[in-house]
Symmetry: C2
Subunit: 321 residues, 2 copies
């Protein structure tokens, strides 16, 4: 048996986090070795439970889930995106609220430390919530950067508008100081921003294919996105459809999303209290010459994908690939 790549998923499990988890759980090349939760779509405590619910749906009650930060590095939580993800946090799609497994007794940072040690040099991190846990881990775990193979982040906006504010995306604005810490840490970092996640759109056709498959994970996603579409349809796209934000980052991690443009460029997070707070300021000035001659840079930023990931996601969830 081929060795699977160990992946830690750091998430604030709502609907799109659930899609990312289910996509990875059904992917041959990777193995989720742990999940850490963070405030964002809900409290970290609830997001841990939501992760356990999703893992139980996939029959993977063996994967540990550790509870992480309930608040950002600076200040307090001002907002939880419960309206986007339904009253049960997972689209009111009928997933049991009670779970058999319990969260780990370890903190998220303790668990990250353990996994980084166990899988030193191999561990990949998919970070699809606010980056608070990783910032704490960087501060508290000596040598962490050298033990982690790379970090793939869903978050930010390069040349696209934000979603939480005109300039800022939700995961980053929840904790700009943490995001700046993580992006400037010196490890290999890939940012999957709104520039691409808002261009990979799940439609009613995708939902129909999920709904008829007779596969629990697919049925759940079909039901959960019914709720999600209501939010996106009104606010964003003017029709019933949705982005698949976190799941796209999972596809980038597995390599199944091959970016059409993903330069390594300078990224800095706006940590002021001004109107740009939480913006990921990406130096995309090289775009006019297709980034030829661009040098340096601290982050690979996915600027363009081909729009086919929702198909890949649906096929994976229905068990076709």
């Amino acid at each position: 048996m081929t060795q699977r790549t160990p992946v830690l998923v750091d998430c604030d499990t709502g609907i799109d986090d659930a899609m990312a988890l289910l996509f990875l759980l059904a992917s041959d090349g990777v193995e989720i070795v742990g999940v850490t939760s963070v405030f964002g779509n809900n409290t970290a405590a609830q997001c841990a439970i939501n992760s356990l619910r999703v893992l139980e749906l996939a029959g993977r009650t063996d994967i540990p889930v550790a509870i992480g930060a309930e608040k950002p590095l600076v200040g307090e939580v001002t907002y939880l995106a419960t309206h986007v993800h339904g009253s049960d946090g997972l689209g009111d799609a009928g997933l049991p609220v009670d779970v058999a497994a319990q969260p780990s007794t370890k903190t998220a940072v303790e668990f990250i430390d353990e996994l980084a040690e166990r899988y030193a040099g191999e561990l990949r991190i998919l970070a699809i919530g606010p980056l608070t846990n990783l910032a704490h881990a960087l501060d508290q775990i000596p040598g962490l950067v050298g033990k982690v193979r790379d970090v793939v982040i869903m978050g930010g906006a390069a040349d696209a508008p934000g979603n939480q504010s005109p300039a800022a995306e939700a995961n980053i604005i929840h904790d700009p100081e943490a995001a700046q810490r993580v992006i400037s840490a010196g490890w290999e970092t890939t940012l999957v921003p709104l520039d691409v996640t808002m261009r990979e759109i799940l439609t009613e056709d995708h939902r129909d294919r999920l709904a008829v498959a007779g596969v629990p994970a697919a049925s759940f996603v079909a039901a959960a996105t019914d709720f999600y579409f209501g939010h996106y349809g009104m606010d964003s796209f003017g029709r019933r459809s949705s982005a698949c934000h976190d799941a796209l980052a999972a596809g980038v991690l597995t390599g199944e999303v091959v970016p059409l443009s993903a330069p390594v460029i300078d990224v800095v997070v706006d940590c002021t209290d001004g109107p740009g707070r939480g913006a990921t300021i990406c130096d995309t000035r090289g775009r006019y010459r297709n980034f030829t001659g661009t040098s340096g840079g601290n982050c690979r930023v996915v600027l363009e994908t081909d729009g086919t990931f929702p198909d890949v996601l649906v096929r994976r969830l229905v068990g076709a690939v």
Copy 2:
């Protein structure tokens, strides 16, 4: 004779400002009734002289030029773009350095006051430098907003990268506080940002057509852009070509540039000292539904044009239209 629309041009005359002035001078529907200068591409004093040189080339020594602000509302001048515009400020294109006419003895604000009174309700302002003069005018001239028909600004970046910094365009970052004052003043404002000015490109073909026309204004622009292309070719587009920033804003003012997308949206200027200082934060979140249902907003932002303005500009300068 049809009444021409009175236009005040507030500028920091370098090469693209010169193109804007020459375009308007050759346009039937508008009449430049005055020019005010501001620091930016050069000192305000030198920019006034440069404007006079351009006006003299066009035989319009009758148009008054008033010297404006030499520094921003806050802080000092940190940068003049002399390297972009040549040692003589106009591309070292052989335009005489000495001019017959002298700048007005009035200050820019006094002159704006006079013009706003004379052309109350009709005056249009083309602002193609830092917005310091207009900010001072707003503070010092009672009722100015009600006397000005509209303000068309070359500046900022909505979803495009900046040029002076990753987030900010040069005119705005020269004086963010002034830009915020002008954009939030309550008059009708149109922003022509890098999103479109970097997509309307003058090429060697355009230069060739200008050079052979035997028209002084066209010959000057052909020579000046020779220098300008050198700057742009290396830094931006990877070939000899250039944006025609300020001239595009002039085309928007005359109505000859018909934007494909120009929603009225909220714009706020980042006046912090953070990495986004000088950014024009435009709420373009409605772009995913083509701005249908967008309401409110303080500024019309030109987000898309069709790329044909350089042809219009060349035809105008060679006297074909």
